[in-house]
Symmetry: C2
DNA sequence: AATAAATAGTTTAAGCTTAAAATATAAGAG
DNA sequence: CTCTTATATTTTAAGCTTAAACTATTTATT
């Protein structure tokens, strides 16, 4: 059992349970992320950040500002600028100025972007279901609850 | 409540629960990882990958091969080569050939590396406890269990 | 109106990460 | 012993990511 080598390998009794929890969390998300990256690359010549970017826009029919994208994707503003430039080049998004604020840009999916996203998203969801769909409904419900607690606990850390 | 903007923002009812679970997992580990990165940089001018590297070695008194480090850190071999080169330059690790196999290298902590790691590790554990220590013991136990299920479910995905 | 402070986004330099190709060595097959 | 295959690691080129510095614009203060 558990013959896999990962972040948790060689933890000892004395390590704090918070640390163990963090490393297990990290192992799980690394595993899933790696699988999704590989599949996206092999099947669609797409990267995870680019897919995430399109994905955020698809959920926001009116488009998003660069800043809002940065928050939702939890990455730096500079990162967003770079990815946006690529996606504009590829014709997948539009990046237009808004009337009353010359600093702000609104990014939206082009039709091509919407089409491409839809194709990939279907398969992407299948991959996720392949990986996680075997879990009990009860377990999933509990996990969602507990992870929400984790998220809120982390966010209320005063040193955050 | 939940006024934070992250990977989960704007998910809709129809999204599959597996997808929602994945995004919540991603949000949690992104949050924790970001905090640890920032603190390591500000307090110790250290990066997370370098710290992970030292951390793996500290748990392996006899040292590890490059390949074993690659597996435990869940990153590519090339990545390990690069980080190892830096740490050798900084005098934190040794990288020596083994007698009977001229392909293999064994990496170990130097005394300087052990000292530096120990200093940082103490504080690192505090940060993790700050973020996760408020959780109920029961919740932590359940989470560990459920995340183990996730890990095993993901690993037994036949397409993996 | 002039100045200061805040906001939105981009650029830059450095480090991380990967896949694929390359190098070197070891082990196995005939 | 030679040839093939497998193993261990490094190199390379491309893309991701960030913090910090920078530009431009807007808002607030005086």
């Amino acid at each position: 059992m558990n013959s896999v080598t990962d972040h948790e390998t060689c933890l000892v009794e004395s390590d704090h349970h918070s640390l163990k929890l963090w490393l297990r969390l990290l192992t799980c998300s690394s595993l899933i992320e790696k699988k999704l990256r590989d599949e996206l690359r092999l099947s669609f010549d797409m990267t995870l950040p680019r897919f995430d970017f399109l994905s955020q826009l698809e959920r926001a029919p009116d488009g998003l500002t660069m800043g809002e994208l940065s928050k939702r994707m939890m990455v730096s503003g500079g990162n967003i600028s770079g990815i946006a430039a690529q996606l504009v080049d590829e014709g997948l998004i539009d990046r237009c100025q808004v009337p009353n604020n010359r600093r702000t840009f609104i990014v939206t999916l082009t039709q091509k972007g919407r089409d491409e996203f839809e194709t990939i998203a279907k398969t992407h969801e299948c991959w996720v279901i392949e990986m996680l769909g075997q879990l009990d409904q009860d377990d999933v419900k509990q996990l969602m609850n507990l992870l929400l607690k984790v998220k809120n606990t982390v966010l209320t850390d005063p040193t955050f």
